[in-house]
Symmetry: C2
Subunit: 189 residues, 2 copies
């Protein structure tokens, strides 16, 4: 019998499986913590940038996560210069921090046409022509929402490594890397 | 009468005041969303790094936020090379994203002795001698917790800018910078 309510945290394989399960739940359940991870990139000037994103797809077999974004947003500029990102989730129910390092591929246009057609009408305003996200405007609401498929981009995060920290009666932390076939090793928390 | 339940988001000054109020609440209320922001840094190799931290102090008049960390953690290595950070909070109750860019000063030893003495006994294990956070270990629990004041460091985040995004019936976004005496301007969300 385990005293920890989270016995999955005690073994490397079950810890990794649980993290992917929580990520996958984020894709399908808009109230799950992994629905809204924080994506960190590095700007051309070398500044870290962090913002909330919506997790749109997660494939454990490919080690790939997907995020949609405006094709002319500052994060696209960051990623064009340095195609690497960190993705961060704090999952309170699991007492689990998920830290992902990933190489990022930007897909647009015909490549993502099928994904664009699956974006609900009400969500398309986020991908509009006209003044770009982050541009200065004179009044708070002086912006247009006129959906444009050319403003839609998909970020494919090819996971390099996953650093999992479980805060239980005793803390456990492990690192899993693609290079090491996701075998995993324990780290000092 | 405002139709938005968050009328503070409609004016630049009340929006900024609300963000500082939520940050300050994070310092004093362990259940507040700003208690656990995500801190992003850039590693020496140019990778973004993001992890949960605990907000320990917030001073609007100084434009300074404080975080405690292990003095030999990887984030200290990142910040020694590039003393800049992003701090990110998603506050669900306020429908507010707070994105902070800051210059970071690392304080240790005698400078932070008074803060060390205020760290509760049970929290001191996070600042231990012995194997360092992030080091590889053979077993999950093969690490020591032996508090050491020399392993305690304080990060002082001198806020350069604050990017606030309110998701209401109509989205509003504004940027406030120290350089501009925190006057603020609206941005395309």
């Amino acid at each position: 019998m385990s005293l920890d309510p989270h016995p999955w945290a005690e073994q490397l394989d079950s810890l990794l499986a649980h993290a992917w399960q929580r990520l996958t739940r984020g894709v399908h359940d808009r109230h799950a913590p992994a629905r809204h991870p924080t994506l960190a990139t590095v700007s051309a000037e070398g500044w870290p940038q962090a913002r909330t994103v919506v997790l749109r797809a997660a494939s454990r077999s490919d080690g790939v996560l997907e995020i949609h974004t405006h094709a002319h947003s500052p994060k696209i500029a960051d990623l064009s210069a340095r195609p690497v990102a960190a993705l961060h989730v704090w999952d309170p129910g699991s007492h689990l921090q998920i830290r992902i390092q990933a190489d990022v591929e930007i897909a647009q246009g015909d490549l993502v046409a099928s994904r664009w057609s699956a974006v609900p009408e009400r969500s398309r305003a986020a991908y509009s022509r006209g003044p770009l996200p982050g541009q200065s405007i004179s009044e708070a609401l002086a912006y247009e929402t006129d959906p444009d498929p050319a403003a839609f981009a998909v970020l494919q995060l090819h996971v390099r490594s996953m650093d999992l920290l479980h805060l239980g009666p005793q803390h456990r932390r492990a690192l899993f890397s693609r290079d090491n076939a996701w075998a995993g090793c324990w780290l000092v928390p």
